[in-house]
């Protein structure tokens, strides 16, 4: 049964990696419920294992997004500093809380973000399309921005639109505060933080969806380790299960990354919302002890 068990774990992890990479979630949103509900793992072990796998998923996606210049490294770096503090705090708190509380927060967060993603249009101000790339940060052509003098503007080529997309993030201070929250939820729930980072960057900062998902993956690849280390050191990560999960997630993430490059942002957004609503229902039902749904 060992091989079959490992294979089923790897299959679940591959599904999580595929969705996580495609949507910029990090994979944990699928892995945590699957491992705790289907495989019967303690929630804290599922969260710890998920966080280690999230590092693999986000790193894999980030490598691809960095290669295609879709991720905004400067914006990611600024948001990652506060997100890492949040992830560390979330990990320390999460290892001390009961699973019912973690599950309830999980469901509520997913539902709220899902609603926001569905009812709000993709942000457009400051975004432009042109056949040629605009001067970006680090090229001497775009110094100074609304973000207090920091150059956080981004530009990337969108194959679906056949043009270069340029944008300037706005409301960066509010984005910083919400990134701290995203990091905290990451360490608390083992979900990477993309569920908050992607809509915050898209809706609040005005970053195009594709760049938001790519930048989110890069942020998660930098910050999830702060929470993962807490769970690892405190004994909530089984190296064998983690290894199976990482390999499964890695394989799934490769497929998701390739698909994300060719799909238009609107389709990604719709899939993103559906995934959020489904997982919200499952998590809330579990927290409220509704046996039929959970």
């Amino acid at each position: 049964m060992t091989f079959a068990y490992a294979l089923s774990l790897a299959a679940a992890a591959a599904a999580g990696g595929f969705l996580g990479s495609l949507l910029g979630l990090g994979g944990g949103i699928v892995i945590v419920p699957l491992y705790s509900l289907v495989f019967g793992m303690p929630v804290h072990v599922a969260v710890g294992t998920s966080l280690v796998a999230v590092v693999a998923t986000a790193s894999s996606a980030s490598a691809a997004y960095l290669g295609s210049r879709v991720a905004n490294v400067r914006l990611a770096l600024v948001l990652a500093v506060v997100a890492a503090v949040g992830a560390l705090g979330g990990g320390l708190v999460g290892t001390s809380l009961k699973s019912v509380f973690i599950t309830g927060v999980f469901g509520l967060v997913l539902f709220v973000v899902g609603v926001l993603m569905l009812v709000r249009p993709e942000a457009g101000p400051g975004e432009g399309r042109s056949p040629q790339p605009a001067p970006g940060c680090g090229t001497g052509g775009a110094r100074g921005s609304p973000a207090g003098g920091l150059c956080l503007a981004g530009t990337y080529f969108d194959p679906a639109a056949g043009a270069h997309v340029t944008y300037r993030p706005r409301s960066v201070p509010a984005g910083l505060a919400l990134s701290f929250l995203a990091g905290g939820l990451s360490g608390l729930l083992g979900i990477g933080g993309g569920v908050v980072q992607v809509p915050v960057m898209n809706l609040l900062l005005g970053v195009p969806m594709k760049a938001a998902a790519a930048t989110s993956s890069h942020i998660i690849s930098l910050t999830a380790v702060a929470g993962a280390v807490v769970y690892l050191v405190r004994g909530y990560v089984d190296p064998f299960v983690a290894a199976v999960t990482i390999i499964g997630v890695f394989l799934g993430a490769r497929g998701g990354t390739h698909l994300a490059r060719v799909l238009p942002g609107r389709s990604i957004k719709r899939v993103f919302s559906l995934v959020l609503f489904y997982m919200a229902l499952r998590m809330l039902a579990r927290a409220l002890d509704l046996g039929v749904l959970s």
Binding site: M1, T2, F3, Y5, A6, F39, G40, M41, V52, V55, A56, S59, S60, S62, A63, L66, G67, R69, V73, R74, L77, V78, A80, V81, A84, V85, A87, L88, G91, L92, G136, C137, G138, T139, G140, L150, S221, L222, T223, A224, V225, A226, G227, A228, V229, V230, L232, V233, R234, V237, D238, P239, F240, V241, A242, A243, V244, I246, I247, F250
Partner: protein, 109 residues
């Protein structure tokens, strides 16, 4: 001439690819050895799997390499931005390194 961002993009992408490859080789080797060692002590879907002792080292090394990647990324970004004279982002990246290292200490409390 490359911009500082071009160098950061290239260095981070390369570090991630190399690190992930090393980590995956270690993890895959550990898994093969663990599965070849036979069934676990306890059976059942919820029971923890116990790989052979010689596989544990490889598995732990693979996880360690994976978790070191974010630190390597932050160090590379700090060094690149700082060497290009972009002190703000160099300092931000360095701050990230400090927080990542702090997590290891805080977890032991």
């Amino acid at each position: 001439m490359d911009s500082s961002d071009d160098r950061v993009y290239r260095r981070l992408a390369r570090a991630l690819r190399v690190g992930l490859s090393v980590s995956l080789v270690l993890l895959a080797s550990g898994l093969v050895l663990a599965l070849a060692a036979g069934p676990p002590v306890a059976e059942g879907p919820a029971a923890p799997l116990r790989p052979a002792a010689h596989a544990s080292g490889l598995l732990l090394a693979g996880v360690a390499v994976l978790l070191a990647l974010p630190v390597v990324q932050a160090v590379l970004a700090a060094f690149t931005y700082w060497s290009q004279g972009d002190r703000v982002f160099g300092f931000a990246a360095f701050g990230l390194v400090v927080i990542q290292c702090l997590a290891l200490l805080a977890a032991r409390l």
